[in-house]
């Protein structure tokens, strides 16, 4: 396969990210991705990454180091949104993106990375497990508000 280039996300990747999301979810949601990408660019533009093949963005992973979430004071690297174009999967791109984010988290002083996966997303769970994530000693709880 052609060389994969992993680099920090920028504002001109939004349309490509919308395209990947659309291929995964079937929905075109430019406003959603504009808000999300700008959030990460504003807070730490070197943390979130995209993967390019032949100059085309085929994967993205957005995340950052934060402390104080859910009462966990230690700085934590959060993997928040990611996706690889279906036509570019199973070639190590997801792993490459994960490695880049985790290395950045470590450089920023985090000793732990966390993410959350919905129970129904078994494929994502398997990918995250392949990336070395294990169940954390916390439970996600919720209460429906009538």
């Amino acid at each position: 396969m052609a060389d994969v280039r992993i680099r920090p996300v920028n504002e001109l990747d939004i349309e490509a990210i919308c395209r990947i999301d659309e291929r995964i979810t079937g929905k075109y949601r430019p406003d959603v991705w504009e808000d999300r990408v700008v959030y990460f660019i504003r807070r730490d533009p070197d943390s979130s990454q995209v993967a390019e093949v032949d100059g085309k963005v085929v994967g993205f992973m957005l995340g950052e180091v934060r402390g104080g979430e859910f009462g966990m004071e230690e700085p934590t690297g959060w993997l928040e949104f990611f996706g690889v174009d279906p036509s570019a999967r199973e070639r190590g791109i997801g792993r490459g993106l994960t490695d880049a984010l985790l290395a950045g988290f470590k450089k920023r002083g985090a000793h732990v990375a966390r993410t959350m996966v919905r129970t129904q997303d078994a494929e994502i769970a398997r990918f995250v497990a392949a990336m070395g994530f294990t169940p954390a000693p916390v439970s996600a709880l919720e209460k429906r508000l009538a």
């Binding site: 920028n10 504002e11 001109l12 939004i14 349309e15 395209r19 659309e22 291929r23 075109y28 430019p30 406003d31 504009e34 990408v37 700008v38 660019i41 504003r42 807070r43 730490d44 533009p45 070197d46 934060r66 450089k107 920023r108 002083g109």
Partner: protein
């Protein structure tokens, strides 16, 4: 990973604060809107930031591998001169852009757009602060006879019309200018900072990473509002249409290109280890990036114009329209396009060559001027800047003004000396009590 924070000595800090009161009166609004638009982000800090882990050895040019300079006197005299003019020009752009943004900030229609512009302005102020820190925290006496306080005074005294680079001497006519400026002119800023990240002067190299992180947001503050306007324009429910955006692009693009310096130059900076690209190579990359930006906006437009089509259908429509076909009433002229790099140029390799937006050449100067005027926003068309350009264009063609002279000519929109306009002092950098200074702009 975190940067070291440095503050200026009191008198310089005060001078910048005072400058801010006069030139950026909306600054206090930023703190008001911060929790709403930037929740969880660290509060804005007017300070210099110095990055750690910067290579200690020169990365490019004749002295690769030798230790980077920690003081100006450690650089070769000519290199130090280049560096000093880089820092002064950079400072001028930082303060200059705030003066421009302030003119039309109040005309933003969306509270978010305004909040973003306010943050951009505050961060430009921090960048200016950073440059002043560089000029005042080291000994520049081997390089210039000008005292540090006079260098700072000179920078703070500049106004729209007396800045170093033409892009910072154009007035903003509407909030569209704030946004197109961020998308195009801050993008040149990003290139300059990126090239200077390898600077052989270590304090300058260490200033770049924090500035670049902020610059990334400035570009987004340009591109995101454009993306949303384009969508409204496609649906026909917006207040900014595609021709208005196109004309604003014509206003700014050439000035952005000229910020790179003459296409044929820049090798000296590479040789001295001050930048890692020559002017033309940097400009080529910039043009490619701007093309990509407009393509993305066009895709967004096409999607919104044909909401029932799938992604693949819309991509196919865009490809056909881009190649010149008209599809379902949509033609290439309805979309945005970057003008030819030679269009409306006043400096560099293509200065005053009569090339139109699409690369067509003109032989009749009046026809060319008419073409340029028709391509520019109406308010700008009537400006002193455009009139000055048209006069020069005529004079270059008939031969009454030599090209070199025309390239160096800038309209005088403001008085040179823009000292503090309040009664406290004639100078921004105060050492003793003084009288009132004249700083009012001449209305064009």
């Amino acid at each position: 990973m975190s940067d070291e924070v440095r503050m200026l000595p009191e008198r310089y800090h005060e001078a910048i604060e005072h400058w801010r009161q006069h030139n950026f009166p909306d600054y206090p609004k930023l703190a008001e809107v911060w929790p709403k638009f930037f929740p969880k982000d660290d509060a804005f800090c007017l300070c210099a930031k110095v990055a750690g882990d910067i290579p200690a050895e020169i990365e490019i040019g004749d002295d690769v591998g030798k230790p980077k300079a920690l003081e100006p006197k450690e650089l070769a005299p000519e290199a130090a001169q280049h560096l000093l003019s880089q820092i002064r020009a950079q400072a001028s752009t930082e303060f200059g852009s705030i003066q421009q943004h302030q003119m039309t900030l109040f005309r933003a229609q969306e509270p978010q757009d305004q909040a973003w512009a306010l943050r951009v302005m505050a961060e430009e102020l921090r960048h200016g602060y950073q440059m002043v820190h560089l000029l005042t925290s080291s000994d520049w006496s081997p390089v210039t006879e000008t005292k540090p306080e006079d260098m700072v005074e000179e920078i703070l005294s500049m106004q729209t019309g007396s800045h170093v680079l033409a892009a910072f001497n154009l007035e903003f006519d509407s909030f569209l200018d704030n946004v197109v400026f961020a998308a195009f002119i801050d993008r040149v800023g990003k290139y300059q900072l990126t090239m200077q990240r390898i600077s052989a002067y270590k304090p300058y190299a260490s200033s770049m990473p924090p500035m670049l992180r902020e610059e990334a947001f400035h570009l987004a503050a340009g591109v995101i509002p454009l993306r949303r306007w384009v969508e409204h324009a496609a649906r026909g429910d917006g207040y900014i249409d595609m021709p208005a955006i196109q004309k604003a692009v014509h206003k700014w693009f050439g000035r952005g290109l000229e910020m790179f310096g003459d296409e044929r130059g820049g090798q000296t900076n590479v040789k001295f280890g001050l930048k890692d690209l020559n002017n033309r190579d940097a400009q080529d990359q910039y043009i490619q990036e701007c093309t990509k930006m407009l393509d993305d906006l066009n895709v967004r437009y096409v999607r919104a114009r044909f909401p029932d089509r799938t992604r693949d259908e819309a991509d196919a429509i865009f490809a056909r329209v881009a190649s010149g076909e008209t599809v379902d009433g949509l033609s290439r002229d309805d979309l945005l396009r970057l003008p030819d790099r030679r269009f409306f140029r006043r400096r560099g390799e293509f200065a005053f060559q009569m090339v139109g937006t699409r690369g067509e050449t003109f032989t009749d100067v009046e026809k060319y001027i008419a073409h340029v005027l028709a391509s520019l926003p109406e308010a700008y068309r009537a400006s002193i800047d455009v009139k000055h350009w048209a006069d020069l264009q005529r004079a270059v063609i008939v031969g009454t003004t030599p090209l070199k002279e025309a390239m160096a000519s800038m309209p005088r929109l403001a008085r040179q000396a823009g000292g503090c306009p309040c009664g406290k002092s004639v100078r921004w950098v105060v050492d003793a009590a003084g009288g009132a200074g004249g700083g009012e702009r001449l209305s064009p």
